[in-house]
């Protein structure tokens, strides 16, 4: 599913936090947005998901302009995974109940089978199904959050820093899972992160946001080779290389 964002502007009260961002994503591709905290990258993602209904510009999925208020059918095609797995699962509901909400809303058939299938897709044991979120580890919770998005059988997955709340060993597991799922299900990813190596691991295209503007777009390959043009991108790359390979 191709995605086009054209001159997207979002303001919170007087302050404009996204100042005319444009980018295109080919179907099946994965696009990473990097930037510092407060650069507006998550805000772009939430507007794409339909959580923020107050924006200007154009957001279109496979050539179709998305309205400000999305119809329920939209959420079968586009789903989102949140940053914090401790805050994104209802604390008083079992995993089963969390996963069955979307199929119930959309009156899908074979809900039991779908839940069992999606749990095995994200490599969660079937006996996790009737547990509560507080009985699971952070990595398992994030798998539940991914399963909740996958049960809609979406074409686009919006990822809002899906690994930043997890510890390093679990981060790699989740990233590999996401990479595998993309191939299996031919998903289109849009991922937001402040971590360049995470983006480089999963995305082929990278957009760099500074202060509400997308200052540079380049391929992950160019980024790796140090072909960035904008000084901010170079700075980000330098920082991430230095962090990985301390002198």
């Amino acid at each position: 599913m191709t995605i086009e964002i054209d001159n997207l502007r979002i303001r919170f009260g007087e302050r404009e936090v996204v100042k005319g961002v444009s980018f295109d994503i080919e179907g099946g591709d994965s696009f990473g947005i990097v930037g510092e905290s407060g650069s507006g990258k998550s805000t772009v993602l939430r507007a794409m998901a339909g959580l923020n209904e107050d924006w200007q510009g154009r957001i279109s999925f496979s050539g179709e302009d998305a309205p400000q208020k999305r119809p329920p059918s939209f959420f079968r095609k586009v789903q989102m995974v949140f940053q914090d797995p401790y805050g994104s699962l209802h604390p008083r509901q079992t995993i089963d109940r969390i996963l069955s909400e979307l199929p119930l809303v959309h009156k899908m058939d074979r809900i039991d089978d779908r839940i069992a299938k999606v749990l095995s897709d994200v490599a969660l044991p079937q006996n996790a199904r009737f547990r509560y979120p507080h009985q699971l580890s952070g990595g398992q919770r994030q798998r539940v959050a991914i399963a909740r998005a996958l049960i809609a059988e979406p074409e686009v997955l919006l990822l809002d820093e899906p690994t930043s709340a997890l510890d390093v060993s679990v981060q790699a597991e989740i990233l590999n899972l996401l990479a595998d799922l993309r191939v299996e299900r031919k998903l289109t990813y849009v991922m937001v992160s402040h971590n360049l190596s995470v983006i480089a691991h999963l995305c082929s295209q990278v957009g760099v946001m500074v202060d509400g503007q997308m200052v540079e777009q380049l391929t992950a390959e160019d980024l790796r080779l140090g072909k960035a043009v904008h000084p901010h991108t170079q700075e980000l790359r330098r920082l991430s290389v230095e962090l990985e390979e301390p002198v």
Binding site: G87, E101, F130
Partner: protein, 299 residues
């Protein structure tokens, strides 16, 4: 049997929806059991409820039969709690009075809790103009002194139990609406609610299936703590002659009619007073214990 249930309910990997739900309930019960004051409260309330249900079996006399030759008798073998100013058996009247008083309390709670919950959750979730409108209405009701509004209301209708219940309900719901709204505000912007919005569910579905259940524990605690004040308001209305009408043995009305004898035959008004005190105290103990057990931040 009991041990089997225990291992089944406490299983770390429940295999059905029912088992997970029972596990949760059983854990809450174990928590409550570990709280001595809470258990005392629960026991007292259970005893009073059982007394109310089985009043016809337990009563030694008919609560309305007068025996004028034997009025204001001290507690004795025939009349365990003595007799009142018309020679009626106080023990039997306390039993039947439990029906009236507890029945009023339950009726008020059944009326008030869902209204407060719905108003608060709707106001908190939608925000904006809906919030302003609903909360100003709530403020209007909150601004009236409770007993005065209840009195005016009962006076406008006819004095009686139904009017008393309605009057108390009318003045009791605003705090619950406020509480539910505050709880809703803390969760409405959380990621898990955002995730439910991304299922395409309607706002109503989100409010009543996902937000309201999060508000109920604190609401239950608050209701339990308020039970005692509802009992006292009901008793006050009875005392002022606006609640249950004679010969109905409501506890507040019993104190009201017996207050003349408080110096000479002090046990006559004292016994219904003790009943009110015990039940109010028991509800307070239980409410405090439930706060520890049901607090969502606790686990």
């Amino acid at each position: 049997m009991n041990a089997a249930f225990r291992t089944w309910a406490l299983s770390e990997a429940p295999s059905s929806r029912r088992q997970a739900a029972w596990g949760n309930r059983y854990r809450a019960w174990l928590n409550l059991k570990g709280n001595p004051l809470g258990m005392i409260g629960l026991t007292i309330i259970s005893i009073f409820i059982l007394m109310a249900i089985f009043a016809p079996l337990l009563a030694t006399h008919d609560p309305a039969t007068q025996e004028l030759a034997n009025r204001l008798a001290a507690p004795n073998a025939a009349h365990w709690f003595g007799t009142d100013e018309l020679g009626r058996d106080v023990f039997s009247r306390i039993l039947y009075g439990a029906r009236v008083t507890l029945g009023m309390v339950i009726a008020v709670v059944v009326l008030v809790a869902p209204i407060g919950l719905a108003v608060g959750c709707i106001a908190g979730y939608f925000g904006g103009i809906v919030d302003t409108a609903l909360m100003r209405i709530t403020d209007i009701f909150l601004a009236f002194p409770r007993l005065v509004l209840a009195l005016a209301f009962v006076a406008a209708l006819k004095p009686g139990i139904e009017s008393a219940v309605l009057a108390i309900a009318l003045t009791a719901w605003p705090p619950y609406a406020r509480l539910a709204r505050a709880e809703t505000l803390t969760v409405r912007n959380s990621d898990f609610i955002a995730a439910y919005r991304l299922t395409g569910a309607s706002s109503w579905r989100i409010i009543f299936r996902h937000i309201a259940p999060l508000c109920t524990p604190s609401l239950i605690v608050r209701v339990t703590l308020d039970m005692s004040s509802i009992i006292i308001t009901a008793a006050s209305l009875g005392f002022l002659g606006m609640g249950a009408q004679p010969p109905s043995p409501e506890w507040g009305a019993m104190i009201a009619t017996a207050k003349r004898f408080i110096f000479e035959q002090w046990w006559v008004p004292m016994i219904p007073a003790i009943a009110i005190l015990l039940v109010s105290l028991a509800f307070n103990f239980l409410g405090d214990a439930l706060r520890d057990v049901l607090d969502p931040k606790g686990n």
